[in-house]
Structures are given as structure tokens and as C-alpha cells.
């Protein structure tokens, strides 16, 4: 008897925690269809007018969205190349103190992006590069590259070395063996890392706040500034669109299988 009760209690507890995990996101989606800015619960009707309003917002939404996408794609592409090379070096090159190198290259993930942004701001101020597009790209690449390195490293570490050896015995020189045999095997890891890096760039706020100008505003920065004045459902609608884009990329990530590998 007590077994059944404790199992029920457990289910309720876990259910509540899951609600807690999902609550804010669900609230945003819910709020985006509220009839007015007044946050009464439950709402007495729902409407899509805020979405129409949001899609008409060039300054608040469409321009920053374009900037975010372009910035994300550029940064992720560069990070993909640099990160893959780094992973190859970390796993394959003859290194003394390999774990120190690995720690150093993966550390940026855990450093607050605000501080990186602040430091870059100081550097760019001195070099008169503040507010430039490429300065922003440099900042983003710096903070997302480690995700690619991590993903490709994991992929490489899981490879069977004798497959590449087999290619060599069959007549492929080292370069050909890499392109014909190693690369196809780590391609999912590279793609997953790149997608994850893109998501991180797309959602980045702190560093971008410090380095962006009105011409180079990203979507999170635009939302952040706007929320200070007006926390109405328009922002919720924009945030929901942002969410859908991220979710779409998540599904892409799943298909590539990278997510499963990351969760031990």
C-alpha cells in the first residue's frame, strides 16, 4: 500500500518539477495570444493580432532577426572550420599534457560572455573597431567555437582507428584516407556542433549588448531593450517566433543524432 502511495507522490513531485521547467516558455507562448497586455489568468479570449503587429515591426523584429540569422550563420560557419581543426589537433596531434590543452580550448564555454564582451569592447574602443560587423562576428566565434570543438572531439574519440588503417593498407595515402574515410564518419559530429553553435550565437545577449550598435542589433538585444519599456504581448509574440526557430533547429540537431551523443 505504501509503495503505491509513494509512487504516486513521486509522480506528482516529478510532474510539478517538469511544470516548473516548462512554465516560463509556455507562459510566453500563452501570453503571445492574450487579448490585451493585462495579465489576467485565465484570458477571456485569444488573438493573433500581436503576431501581425510583430511581423510589421521592422526595427524591433525583422531587421534584428535578419541580423541574428546572418550573424549566426557566419559565426557558426567560421566556428565549424576552426573548431573541427582544433578537435583534430586535440585528439590526433602528438601533444604533451593533452588534457591541459583540452581544458584550455574548452574553457570558454564556462566563462561568462559578459566579461568576454566587456574586454572586447575595451579592445575595440582602442582600435576604433567598436560597432563593426566583423568585430561582432569575432566575438561570437570566440564564444561558440568550443561547442564545435567539443562535439567533433567526442566524435573523433569514438572512432575505430583500424578503419583508417584499413583504408591505408588498401592504397589511400594519409590525406586521401582522411577525406574519404575519417571525414564521412565525423560529419554528424561536425554538423551537430555547428547547429549547436548557431543556436548559442542566435540566443546570445550579454556580449552582443556590449558590442552592438543600432545598425548591428540582434534579436535578443532588441527584445531586451524593448522589454524595459513595454512588456506587452508583442514581445511575447516575437519571443515565440524566436522559440519556433530554435525548436526547428533542435529537430535538425536530433536528426543528425548529435544531441543523443551529448546526453551521455
Amino acid at each position: 500500500m505504501s509503495g503505491r502511495i509513494s509512487r504516486l507522490v513521486n509522480k506528482v513531485v516529478v510532474g510539478t518539477i517538469v511544470m516548473y521547467l516548462l512554465a516560463p516558455t509556455l507562459v510566453v507562448v500563452l501570453y503571445s495570444v492574450y487579448p490585451s497586455a493585462y495579465m489576467s489568468f485565465p484570458p477571456h479570449s485569444i488573438t493573433l493580432k500581436w503576431y501581425r503587429h510583430a511581423l510589421a515591426q521592422n526595427e524591433l523584429f525583422l531587421n534584428p532577426l535578419g541580423t541574428s540569422l546572418l550573424l549566426g550563420l557566419t559565426s557558426a560557419a567560421i566556428a565549424m572550420v576552426i573548431g573541427t581543426l582544433a578537435a583534430l589537433g586535440l585528439i590526433r596531434a602528438p601533444l604533451r599534457h593533452r588534457s591541459i590543452w583540452q581544458g584550455a580550448f574548452l574553457a570558454p564555454i564556462l566563462i561568462p560572455t559578459l566579461i568576454v564582451g566587456f574586454g572586447l569592447m575595451l579592445v575595440f574602443l582602442r582600435l576604433h573597431l567598436l560597432g563593426t560587423w566583423w568585430g561582432l562576428v569575432a566575438g561570437h566565434v570566440t564564444i561558440i567555437v568550443a561547442y564545435v570543438t567539443q562535439s567533433v572531439s567526442a566524435s573523433l574519440a569514438g572512432l575505430d582507428p583500424s578503419v583508417e588503417e584499413a583504408a591505408k593498407t588498401l592504397g589511400s595515402g594519409p590525406v586521401r584516407a582522411f577525406f574519404r574515410v575519417t571525414l564521412p564518419q565525423i560529419a554528424p559530429g561536425i554538423a551537430a556542433g555547428a547547429v549547436f553553435a548557431f543556436i548559442m550565437s542566435f540566443d546570445e545577449l550579454a556580449l552582443t549588448l556590449l558590442l552592438a550598435t543600432p545598425q548591428t542589433t540582434t534579436l535578443p538585444v532588441a527584445i531586451y531593450s524593448y522589454v524595459q519599456f513595454d512588456s506587452g504581448p508583442t514581445v511575447a509574440a516575437i519571443a515565440t517566433i524566436l522559440l519556433v526557430i530554435t525548436l526547428g533547429l533542435l529537430l535538425l540537431l536530433q536528426r543528425v543524432g548529435g544531441l543523443r551523443r551529448r546526453t551521455h
Partner: protein, 389 residues
Amino acid sequence: MRLFRVSMPGPSDSTVRLLPNSDHSESAASVQETRTGPALEITDLTKRYDQSVAVDSFSLKAGRGELVALLGPSGCGKTTTLRMIAGLVEPTSGHIILEGRPVDRVPIHRRNIGMVFQQYALFPFLSVFDNVAYGLRERRVRKDELRGRVLKMLELVGLSGLEQRRTAQLSGGQQQRVALARALVINPALLLLDEPLSNLDTKLRERVRGEIRDLQRRLNITTVFVTHDQDEALSIAHTIVVMRGGRIEQIGSPLEIYQRPASTFVADFIGACNLVPARVAAVEDGVAKCQLVSGALATVPGDNLRPGDGVTLAIRPEKLRLGPRGEGGASEGVSGVVRSASYLGARTSYEIDVASVILRCDVQSESTPLRIGKAVSITWEQGAWQAFQ
């Protein structure tokens, strides 16, 4: 059921050598040498790491079509030797000559060697056909010729119809055959096998090793085969190289290795062996009489032995007979008590306690095995024991 098809022409069926040959480094009569010398010649191959020597002065000559097995416990250096032949490991010193041409400086991809890896190392992103075709594509073989050769080889290894499958969908035995086909289709000068059967279950292992042997004989391809399983080595090799601690303990045919082991290690490693310490009692007419336990005497060849020498005597369990002395040509013996009996089907293995030395005797099974505690007589033919110093 045969798994390999007989479709490729080859030299007439060469039987496994059984005749002893006094020169251990040469191969037998039915194995040819190329006009310029042996197909594979290895001289003093050595691999040294910072703190240890993995392979110490390994030397071997193999003729065309000869199957050499490198046999030994793990860590004996057999895999390192194989990988040095392939070029995957750089030797510290020594020479390798393949079909008359030195390959020491030749990079892996130009040695024209076919290698089958322990875990098969198939390309997971390619189909069976593309796996087998890989080496041919690297050699720029023309499309129609390539297709013909791949399909023929797949038929030879019994995988016709499976060309388009993904390798992950195949069973272990099928994957192994893809690996074999892939290595053989390029007509390599040398075939290297790194414990190819260790991932298969026992029943399959026996079948497949027979097929590998038949295929190798049919194609007459020089082969080096690494294994830790002595049954495998004994059943398919022309020549066995027993290795220990990086050095060669003995090279010879399966019969030589089994019947005339060069050391107690080889005697004990191949098959079961009784090893008993003894002392030389007397030497006359080139023959030594050694004192075993409880007064029993064994006769062994007397070269290099003097009375009083300590030796280790070795005899295979199947050479010991249970029964009264003088029966059936057995002229020496000892008495003991049955300590345990293991019924193994066709044979029964007894442990006989002879003054606290345990002798293992394998005899043909009777309908009722001997009781534990029964007093028995063990006998053997004169000269059946071998002495090691």
C-alpha cells in the same frame, strides 16, 4: 555446407605439410619460392619503446603461398610484428623484403598488402560493394573490370546478393567475409590477418577457419596470420612461429611444434603437457636414464646430459597409458592413485597422484570411468619423454 564456392582456378590442391623438415626456417616442398628468393623475408625486425622491447630480432622466410601463423600469449609481440610488416608501426631496426623488393621505406598505401583487422574495420558509411571496391578504386581500375572483380570475389566468399547492404546490417561472420573479400580483391602480394576469428562464436570459428584455409590454398597467397588460439594455428598453418616476450621461441611445422617442442614454454603452450622435474641417473650408449618421482625411470636421448644433471621432463597426456606394466609395448612406468576424472566425451582425462606429483593422462573413454582413489599403473613407451635443461 560449404560457404566458399570453388570458382577460381588455382594450383592443384596443396595439402598441409606434415613431414618434418630439419631446417626450420625454410618452408616445405609444395610451397614454392619466387625466382628471386622467398616471397617474404624478414631479418632481425626489432621494435623498441622507451622502457621495453616489444619485438626482438624477429627473422622469418616464407615462400609463395605459405601460411605462417604467429602464435603466442597476449603481449608476446605477434601483433606488433604484423603491424610492422603492414607498415602501421615503424620498426626500430631490421628489414622486410616483400617479393624481392625492400619495403622498409615504402609507405603503407604502396606496399600492396591486404590486411584483415580483428574488428574487421569495415567502412560504416559504404555498402558491401563499395567496401570491397575501395582498394580497386584507389588503383584506378576501370569501372567494368572493377565491377566484375568485386562480384566475383563476393561470390568466392559466399556473399553474392548482398552487395547493396549496409555493413551494420550484416552478422559478424558476414562482416568478416567482407573484410576478407576487400583485402583479397586487390591481388595483394601478402595477406595479413590479425586474429580474424576471435570475435566469432566457437562453432562459426571452426567452420570459417577451415574456409580461410581452403581459400588461402586455392589462391596460393602468402599469408601471415596472428592468433593466440593454438588449435587455429595447428589446423591451418604451414609454419608456426611461437613467440614469447617479443622473441621467437620456435619456428616449425605444426607437427614439429607439437611433437618436438624446443622448450618447456612451447611444450606447455601448445596442447597440454606434463612437466616433471627429474635428475639424470646414468648415461650410456647415448641414452640417459632419468629418475622421476618414487623411483621411476624414464629414458631420453642422452646428448649433452651427464649423471647428476637436473632436467625437466615433458610428455603429452595422450602418450601416457593406464594399465599394468609390460602390456602393449609400454616398458616403463610408475604407480599412482586416481585423483580426478573428467569425462570429455571421446576421451577421459585423469589426474593421477604419483607421490604428490600430478600426472595428467588422456585415454579413450570406457563405459565407466575409473573411481577416484583407485590405485593404477601409468606406463609409457621408452623414449616418449622429452628432456629440457
